[in-house]
Symmetry: C2
Subunit: 325 residues, 2 copies
């Protein structure tokens, strides 16, 4: 349309004057901002950092900046915090803090504000979400222990108000049932939050209640590491006395002693996918609700082994075989 040399001249002049479009003014006029708000419970957890990295990376490649808000220990403030982001005209929200029925989600639905859940989903799918297949992850863990010969398996559960805690507990039960074990007889201790301390506390209770347990599936690596602490207190050995499976495969769990067998989740990938989903919702005004469920993977390390009873049996049977020869 316009003389291209003129375009070039204008662009050059703009460059020389250091002219940049003012995003604040543009935002005021349009109501949009090229900003995305991300709500995380707390950054320190190694679960949320890769989610953040992934989401931020993808969004910034698409020209969006991120406004990260830490909801921290104040879930009741979450709506206010989100309100602050919305006042700043964020174009969309990535929510990593959702409870199984979250008022913030209701709010987003009402206001038609594009939003995507990540890591934790709601009970019913009102907006798109990217999660790991928590049920399948636990089944992998249970299968692994059962394959090793364990029959007395306990669960260190996470907070039931989050989908991760809830679904993993459910997956644990399903996994047992699928292998012919009775989930109702399996001991389960519910931790209030995902910390090493809570893991240790739950583990102590579990051992006291059911000393016959030989295998533990934890809802989270930190809980599993807490279980390590509890075992050490009682001078018990993992995996000789009790096998432990974690969940998340967070950094360094391959270096702890014993190296932790765990279920790997690609949190980074969750962040990337959430960013993609949100971008679609923001730009194509695409109201489709999508549920992306990423497949977990069992990583076998040194914290799981056959229970001593099975080892004894094997020894016995192999010696019988030897006798027959």
């Amino acid at each position: 349309m316009v003389d291209p040399s003129a375009v070039a001249r204008v662009l050059k002049a703009a460059q020389e004057l250091g002219y940049r479009l003012d995003p604040v003014a543009a935002s005021l006029r349009t109501g949009r901002s090229k900003l995305v708000g991300i709500l995380v419970p707390d950054i320190a957890t190694s679960v949320f950092t890769p989610i953040l990295t992934g989401a931020t990376e993808r969004l910034s490649a698409r020209g969006y900046s991120t406004l990260v808000a830490y909801v921290g220990g104040a879930p009741e403030q979450q709506l206010d915090i989100a309100g602050g982001l919305i006042a700043r005209r964020v174009d969309g929200l990535i929510i990593a803090t959702a409870s199984r029925h979250d008022p913030l989600v209701s709010f987003c639905v009402e206001q038609k504000l594009p939003a995507v859940l990540v890591n934790r989903a709601e009970k019913e799918a009102r907006i798109s979400a990217v999660v790991s297949d928590d049920i399948q992850g636990m089944q992998l863990a249970v299968d692994h222990l059962v394959d090793l010969g364990h029959t007395d398996i306990g669960h260190l559960a996470g907070p039931p108000e989050h989908s991760t805690g809830f679904l993993r507990r459910q997956g644990f039960a399903q996994g047992l049932a699928a292998r012919g074990l009775d989930p109702l007889k399996a001991p389960c201790e519910v931790a209030g939050n995902y910390t090493r301390e809570q893991g240790a506390e739950s583990m102590r209770r579990l051992i006291d209640a059911r000393p016959d347990i030989t295998g533990i599936v934890a809802a989270n690596d930190l809980l599993a590491l807490g279980a390590y602490d509890a075992l050490q207190e009682r001078h018990m050995n993992c995996p000789r006395d009790i096998s432990i499976v974690g969940h998340n495969d967070m950094p360094l769990v391959d270096l702890v002693h014993p190296a932790l067998t765990t279920v790997r989740i690609s949190h980074r990938e969750m962040g990337l996918q959430a960013a993609d989903l949100l971008q679609q919702a923001m730009e194509d005004n695409d109201q489709l609700i999508r549920n992306i469920v990423l497949p977990p993977k069992l990583i076998v390390r040194a914290s799981t082994a056959a229970p001593r009873t099975t080892l004894a049996k094997r020894a016995a049977s192999s010696s019988r075989k030897a006798d027959r020869r």
Copy 2:
């Protein structure tokens, strides 16, 4: 001044209508934004997450929101990225990505944009900074090894373009000299970045070059953990064959095997202090350059022990004593 009941009525009405001051409009008019930009190299490192948490926590308590930008692998883009933040009218910058002479700092000084360095300082103090006492931290580490009886001590150094890598190497040398050991004779391998892989690589080279080494001071925990990997490859044992001291006391290094002796830095505290400093610079228009240096602390765990030569000597001397009795 005004009838207080009228004030109450107006406030109530505002509340009912859901009126909130529009930060975007205010920002356009005033040029201020109640936003602070934070530049981090990458979020995944356990060094920067607590800094971020600390800074964000303090700032949000003061009514500021944070705009976090990951400079990642693109230091040459740093100025552009910062430009984006400035276009958004950030009131100040917290810079965790500074090299020892950083163009972004020059820019902030010229533009009189309040900014604070954190974790990494510049060579010359042009703006305020909050850092750990890297020199002293290394001296603690060296002292510890020398006290145990080590005389052949090597250093796994970090990137020299960052103050942490540079100063820790310097602190290592000073620490040796203070104990009468010759720093020039001490082997040192410089890692290109703070990763486990680089740590392993450096450690391999160091062992090959100087098999007589009995103690290692690493500039960072990840490098130390990489050294663990290298030792394992060669079937060497820590601390029996070689003692290792890390730096940072990042989460879980107490659980690795052997539990890592390391120099604890309160990164969270650095974040808090940086936030305070920045707030002063922003609000009091306080141009004072302050340098906050936090004291590090040695945390002794299981990765350090007396070298075998010393143990042998002690055994000999104690048996002599026994003879005399």
